[in-house]
Amino acid sequence: MQVQVKLFAFFREGRFIKEDRELANGTTAGEVVDSLDIDREEVGVLMLNSKHCQFETILQDGDVYAIFPVIGGG
C-alpha cells in the first residue's frame, strides 16, 4: 500500500519534507517512525489524515501521515 509521509521541523534534517512510501499492509504509525530512525521520545504529535493518531495506529492505503517533534508557540 502507498502512504504519504510528511515530516516537520528538525525531523526534516537529513530526511525529507514529503514522500510517498510503499508500506506493507498492517504497518503501524510507530513502525514508520522507527524506520526513519526517529527516536519515539522526540515525537510530539502524529496526525493521520489531519487527525491525531497513536504509535499503534495501523495505516491504510492512501493515508496522509504527518510526524511532528515536540513543538509549541502561540
Binding site: 516537520f8 526534516r12 522526540e42 510530539g44 489531519s50 515536540v70 513543538i71 509549541g72 508557540g73
Partner: protein
C-alpha cells in the same frame, strides 16, 4: 526603597507618588492593571473619554534576574471591545519600571486642548513635557529621538500615528533591546494613550535595582526554573523556528483559518511556514534566535533580513504571519515582513488588522492575495488616517459593518486569531468567554488540543473543553501577573519542577509564603474582577458567543461547525 504608584493627571498636568495600597501589594502585571481599573474606572465610561485610565505595570518578578520575566502589562477599558483589557509585551520597559520602583503608572484625565506631551519617568517620579517634534511620526523615529534626548539605554513606550488618531486597533509599542518594537497589540490601547495626548513615555531607571528579600533562595529557585525552560523541547523549537513553527501543524490539523475563515487549510502553507522562514533568515545572514528582553532563555524572536541582507523586521509571530498570510492568502514572507515592519512603525495590532483586511477582501474592497494593495493601504491610508484607513484601522468588526459582510470573525468586536474554533473547539470556548474578546493567549487550549503538551484533548470533540479553557484561563491570569512570558507555560505544564520554582522565586522576592493554591486563587480572583467590570459595563452572557456563521458554515477538511449550546458555554463561569 518601597515600590510606589506613579500617578499622572493629564487634565491638570499634575503628578504624584503614592504609597501602594495594601489591597494592591500582592498584585503585579495584569492582576494589578485589572484591579486598578476595576477600582477606579467607571465601567460605562467612554474608553476615549476623560474617565478612562491607562495603567501600565511591570510583573511581580520584572526587573529581577528571573528568566523570562520581562513582560509589561498595559490595561484600560478597551475602545475596541468595550471590556476591561490587558495587553502585555516584552521589551525593556517592564525591567526599567520595576527597577525605578514603579509598581504601576496610572494615567488619568485628558488635556482640554490639542497639546501633546511626552512623559519622563525616573525613580524620583514623573515629569510631563510638551511634545511637538514627534507628533505625526512613527515609532522608529520616536525611539531614535528619545535616545538622542536621553541615552541609548532609555526605555520607551510609544504610539505611532494610529494611536494619535485614536484608531480602535492602535497598539502601544515597547522598545526592545535593539531599539525595535514589541507590541501591546490587542484591544486598541494605543488609542487610549492617544486620547490622553501622550505620544511617548521615556523610562530612565538609572542604577537602581530591584530588592530581593532572600537573594540566595531566589537564585536557587531561578536556576531550577531556567533549567526547566531551557530543557523543554518546545523552548528549543521556539528558538529555532519561532512561534511560526505552528503554521504547518495547525494547517495539518485542519484548523488553520484561510481566506477569511472559509477553509481550514492553506495550499501555500509551506511558503509561510516556520521551517521556510528559518531557512530564509539563515540564508540572508539574519538571526533565527533572538530575545525580546534581557534574561529570556527561550529566544523565540528573530531578525529577518530582506533579500539584500538588510534588516527588515523582528519578532514576527505566528498569528501575524497566519493573518497576513493564510487569512488574506498572501504566500510571500517578504511581503508579510514588509507589512509587519510598517505596522510596527505606525503602531497598529497585526492580528486585528490582518483579520480586518481579510474581511475587507471578502467584502470586495480588495482582492485576496493582493499584498501590494495591502502594503499601500497600510502606508498611505491607515498610516495617514484617510477615511478608508480609519475604517480598516478600527478593526475587523468595523470593516464588516461598513461593507455589509456577514462572515466577520470577532468576539466582543475583537478579531479571532489563527485557530479555527470549529475544528479546534476548546479555543472557541476561550474566544467566547475571555473577559477581553477573542484572544488565544487568554486560555491557550491549543497546547492540549493540538500540541499534546499538558495532556491531550480531541480538538473536534466538545468533551472537557469548557473545563480545559477555564483551567487555562485561571492559570494564565496568574502567569500574566508575574511578568513571565506565557511561553513558560509549556515547561510548567510538563515539568513538575517549573511551577514550584516560580512560586519560590515570588516568595524569595517579597519574603512571603505563597502556595500553589494561592496562585490558583489569584488567577480566579483576577478573572472574576474582570468579569464583574464587564457585567457592570453592560455585557451579559449573550455576549459570550461566537458569530453565527461558525454554526452555519462547515469548515473543510473536517467540515466541522461550532456546536456548543449557550448553556454549555455559560457553565464556564461556574467557579
Amino acid at each position: 526603597m518601597a515600590d510606589m504608584i506613579f500617578r499622572v493627571n493629564m487634565s491638570d498636568l499634575s503628578t504624584t507618588l503614592e504609597d501602594v495600597p495594601a489591597d494592591w501589594a500582592g498584585h503585579g502585571g495584569r492582576g494589578l492593571t485589572s484591579t486598578i481599573i476595576a477600582a477606579e474606572v467607571p465601567p460605562t465610561c467612554h474608553p476615549l473619554g476623560p474617565n478612562n485610565k491607562l495603567v501600565i505595570a511591570p510583573g511581580l518578578l520584572s526587573g529581577t534576574a528571573a528568566a523570562n520575566s520581562g513582560r509589561i502589562s498595559c490595561g484600560a477599558k478597551s475602545p475596541l471591545t468595550g471590556t476591561i483589557k490587558e495587553s502585555n509585551a516584552g521589551g525593556t520597559s517592564a525591567q526599567a519600571l520595576a527597577k525605578m520602583g514603579c509598581k504601576a503608572l496610572i494615567i488619568e484625565g485628558e488635556p482640554k486642548d490639542d497639546t501633546w506631551y511626552t512623559l519622563r519617568l525616573t525613580s524620583e517620579g514623573v515629569t510631563i513635557e510638551k511634545e511637538e517634534e514627534l507628533i505625526g511620526k512613527g515609532n522608529f523615529a520616536v525611539v531614535d529621538a528619545l535616545e538622542k534626548r536621553n541615552t541609548e539605554s532609555i526605555g520607551v513606550i510609544s504610539i505611532g500615528q494610529c494611536g494619535e488618531m485614536q484608531m480602535a486597533s492602535a497598539n502601544i509599542s515597547i522598545k526592545d533591546p535593539d531599539s525595535h518594537f514589541r507590541s501591546c497589540g490587542r484591544g486598541g490601547l494605543g488609542a487610549v494613550m492617544g486620547s490622553k495626548k501622550i505620544k511617548a513615555i521615556a523610562l530612565d531607571a538609572g542604577d537602581n535595582k530591584v530588592e530581593i528579600a532572600d537573594i540566595d533562595a531566589f537564585r536557587a529557585a531561578n536556576k531550577i526554573f531556567a533549567k526547566a525552560l531551557v530543557d523543554h523541547p518546545v523552548s528549543q523549537a521556539l528558538g529555532t523556528y519561532g512561534s511560526n513553527v505552528l503554521v504547518n501543524i495547525i494547517n495539518e490539523s485542519g484548523g488553520f483559518p484561510t481566506r477569511n475563515f472559509t477553509q481550514g487549510q492553506y495550499e501555500d502553507h509551506e511558503q509561510i511556514s516556520g521551517e521556510t522562514m528559518h531557512d530564509i533568515i539563515v540564508e540572508r545572514g539574519g538571526k533565527p534566535k533572538h530575545g525580546c528582553h534581557k534574561g529570556c532563555v527561550i529566544q523565540c524572536s528573530q531578525i529577518y533580513n530582506d533579500a539584500k541582507g538588510k534588516y527588515k523586521t523582528s519578532g514576527m509571530e505566528y498569528e501575524s504571519i497566519w493573518g497576513l498570510g493564510a487569512d488574506c492568502t498572501v504566500n510571500n514572507l517578504d511581503d508579510i515582513a514588509e507589512m509587519d515592519s510598517i505596522m510596527d512603525d505606525i503602531g497598529i495590532d497585526s492580528i486585528e488588522t490582518a483579520v480586518a483586511f481579510a474581511v475587507a477582501m471578502d467584502g470586495g474592497l480588495l482582492d485576496f492575495g493582493d499584498a501590494n494593495e495591502m502594503i499601500r493601504i497600510l502606508r498611505d491610508e491607515i498610516g495617514k488616517g484617510t477615511p478608508l484607513g480609519r475604517v480598516i484601522g478600527s478593526g475587523a468588526g468595523n470593516v464588516g459593518r461598513t461593507y455589509g459582510v456577514t462572515r466577520v470573525p470577532v468576539v466582543k468586536n475583537q478579531g479571532i486569531p489563527a485557530y479555527d474554533p470549529r475544528a479546534i473547539k476548546g479555543i472557541g470556548i476561550t474566544y467566547a468567554t475571555s473577559t477581553q474578546g477573542a484572544d488565544h493567549t487568554m486560555g491557550y487550549t491549543i497546547a492540549t488540543e493540538i500540541l499534546a503538551v499538558g495532556g491531550k484533548a480531541d480538538p473536534l470533540s466538545k468533551e472537557g473543553q469548557v473545563e480545559l479553557s477555564r483551567n487555562l484561563q485561571i492559570a494564565t491570569a496568574a502567569i500574566d501577573s508575574t511578568g513571565m512570558c506565557l511561553f513558560i507555560a509549556f515547561a510548567a505544564l510538563d515539568d513538575g519542577a517549573c511551577l514550584p520554582a516560580l512560586i519560590d522565586m515570588l516568595n524569595a522576592r517579597f519574603g512571603i509564603a505563597l502556595t500553589a493554591d494561592d496562585v490558583t486563587n489569584l488567577g480566579m480572583s483576577i478573572l472574576k474582577t474582570e468579569h464583574a467590570f464587564n457585567l457592570a459595563a453592560g455585557f451579559t452572557n449573550k455576549d459570550d458567543r461566537l458569530p453565527e456563521f461558525f454554526s452555519l458554515e462547515p469548515i473543510p477538511p473536517h467540515n466541522a461547525v461550532w456546536d456548543f449550546t449557550d448553556d454549555e458555554i455559560d457553565t464556564f463561569w461556574d467557579f
